[in-house]
């Protein structure tokens, strides 16, 4: 599903480190929570990239940085080609029109003392995108589009159900006709029968207004349904990114494989009982002091010496597929020697080889026309 259109968003080496302070007499900075640590990805104009991962993987922090609710520690966020990572809040104001956010909690993200009309109208008033006298009509138009009764513009959020409130949030985010929507768990707080309504609405929004989506969710099936391209995050890093068919059917990273196999499957009803799955033992390590080398190695059944010594780069291995694993391979077809060693200038155990340098520019936000073929396995 390669899109010909250019990217609306390109993110390079995006990093967020939150300082941790000591409790001593003088509160020194003793470490950093490495919430996001050098991620690269892109979102095509009018397309969707899904960001999945478990709590603490950094997917929400990534979303907040892209919407510039957070200032990244390092890295570039190129929106329509311009780097917005270091803009001041005044410089950001015109940009806010174009990047909007939809939040998980439809209860907490609407001001209970404002009418729905005011909530949806406020962005237009602030940015003066619509003449004063046309605002009401525009608000009603938006409410109607998201499936609410336009006559209800002077009601308050508590008079609406959860699903309707999420529709209000969507109407607000559409008020400025954004080009990119960051949707952080937009349906996970909703009842199952309502989730589908909201997902369909978001798809309609995307088609109608040609909006790019950074779609953040923990529900693998929802992300798969919404996004042609999906990135999997673990402990602040993207471990695998690819088009959905490849990623869900032939994942190459052991974490992606475990994640997909862990999802409960309604189709199992036809067979009965639990299906066999890859079990991950233990918990995600602390992001303050993540494991050396590959961050997943402490829970990985494939881990070898090299994994502790060298961090695997996110290598492109197919037209729309990148993976960050020294032993990337389909389930049951694990390569015998690290696939990355040659590019990184190290031997199979991860020790530097004299005279060999790591190949430059292994990672990029976008997919390239050339890629690294994984050695044949079997």
């Amino acid at each position: 599903m390669a899109t010909e259109s250019s990217n609306i968003l390109e993110v390079q080496d995006l990093t967020m480190h939150f300082p941790v302070r000591s409790n001593g007499l003088i509160r020194r900075v003793t470490g950093h929570v490495q919430a996001v640590d050098g991620v690269n990805f892109s979102v095509p104009a009018g397309g969707s990239l899904g960001l999945v991962g478990e709590s603490g993987c950094g997917k929400s922090t990534t979303g907040r940085m892209v919407a510039r609710l957070l200032k990244p520690t390092r890295g570039e966020i190129r929106f329509e080609g311009d780097d917005i990572a270091n803009l001041s809040s005044r410089e950001l104001k015109p940009l806010r029109r174009h990047i909007q956010m939809i939040f998980q909690d439809p209860y907490g993200s609407l001001n209970p003392r404002q009418t729905v009309g005011a909530i949806v109208a406020t962005p237009m008033e602030i940015h003066k995108t619509v003449p004063e006298k046309n605002i009401k009509a525009r608000v009603q138009e938006l409410l109607e589009f998201v499936g609410l009764n336009p006559e209800h513009y002077n009601r308050y959020p508590h008079e609406f159900s959860g699903g309707q409130r999420q529709r209000i949030g969507i109407a607000r985010s559409l008020a400025l006709q954004p080009k990119l929507l960051v949707a952080d768990e937009p349906v996970s707080a909703l009842d199952v029968s309502i989730q589908a309504q909201v997902i369909n609405l978001l798809q309609e929004v995307q088609r109608e207004f040609n909006i790019g989506f950074l779609f953040i969710a923990h529900d693998l099936a929802v992300v798969r349904h919404f996004c042609p391209e999906v990135a999997v995050m673990y402990l602040g890093r993207i471990v695998e990114i690819g088009d959905r068919d490849t990623l869900y059917n032939r994942p190459l990273h052991p974490y992606t494989q475990a994640l997909i196999s862990a999802a409960p499957d309604v189709a199992q009803a036809a067979v009965g009982g639990r299906r066999e799955r890859i079990r991950l033992e233990g918990d995600v390590p602390s992001p303050i002091n993540p494991p050396s080398g590959c961050r997943f190695r402490t829970r990985c059944s494939l881990a070898k010496d090299i994994c502790a010594k060298v961090e695997p780069p996110l290598l492109q291995v197919a037209p729309r597929h990148k993976v960050a694993c020294h032993f990337a391979g389909e389930l049951g077809k694990v390569p015998t020697r690290p696939v990355t060693a040659d590019f990184l200038g190290v031997d199979d155990a991860g020790n530097p080889v004299a005279g060999k340098q790591p190949m430059p520019g292994l990672e990029s936000p976008d997919f390239r026309d050339t890629w690294f073929d994984l050695p044949p396995q079997g």
Binding site: D191, V192, S193, P264, V266
Partner: protein, 380 residues
Amino acid sequence: MTMTPHEDRVVGEQLLTVKDLRVHFKTHDGMVKAVDGLSYDVARGQTLGIVGESGSGKSVSSLAILGLHRNTNATVTGEITLGGVELLTLTDEEMRRKRGRDVAMIFQDPLSALHPYYTVGAQIAEAYRIHNDVSKSAAKKRAVEMLGLVGIPQPDRRVDDYPHQFSGGMRQRAMIGMALVNDPGLIIADEPTTALDVTVQAQILDLLQKLQKEFNSAIIMITHDLGVVAEMADEVLVMYGGKAVENGPTNELLVHPQMPYTWGLLSSVPDITSDPNLPLRPIPGNPPSLLSPPSGCAFHPRCTFAARVPDNLCSTTVPALEQIEGKTFHLSRCHLRDPEAVYHNEVLAEGPAGASAIAAQVAGVLPNAPRHLDAEGGES
């Protein structure tokens, strides 16, 4: 036409029987009929999955089994028989002695369900001591044992940790340990994995299933996740608007669903194998108000098939929960004629989400991902 479910089902020892349970709350705005005529039963060693949306009455009905509506503004009527004892006629003190000993509960969010100010060990030990006349040190030993049983590493050390020092998965393990500490016959798990990450969810579901075999307890698994139900439950009860609308063995009910609400649930949830190019088929509208529920079938305002039933029957008459003809045990509450044909010819024909994933699995067609992944990574 009796409301008593599954009289022709071949069953083992029914540990819990709920008959015509009603939980009504008196509020300023009127009577909220949160549970209205609910009947089901569960056998030892079996898992019943109760599925429904918020306000369907699935949690309220389970709290009634624990007697947690006593001394509130709720009126509970009907029969709840646990191990041959009628619970609703017990005194408060007798009911209290059953709580935690004969029936225990696991809650959704283990962080808020554990007391933040007491150690995990102290909370488990407390649950043990209240029903067993043992010393504090013996109870603590038991707590360590339970933590070990539920897979907490170094249980003798972690027993003195506070809940906030545990990860989410460990907290839920501790909750399970606490629920099992008195070896209750019945465990009610209210969305036990909803607050957890998917890999942790898999761990917890595995653990629950392993411990169920060990303890031979009955489990009521309340969830909105049909995937969890499909993998965990022997039987499914679908609730809507305080009533059971469909009840039957998991395999039967999810493969041959009879009630349009169940169809809606199956069609609106994407599956990791369903075709992403087909739109989801959401259930239109919103869950019903319990204060002023719709007349007739509570689902009829959202039901796309109600128009097919003659004489406005759906909006005037509450359909009975009836045995489907030709099935051993499958109850459904619907006026629609020949729902099986409607489901297969019309609903499935649109190829919606979860429903088609099940159908594909039944047909042996594996449209997408490898269905079975074993630990060695081979496909099977």
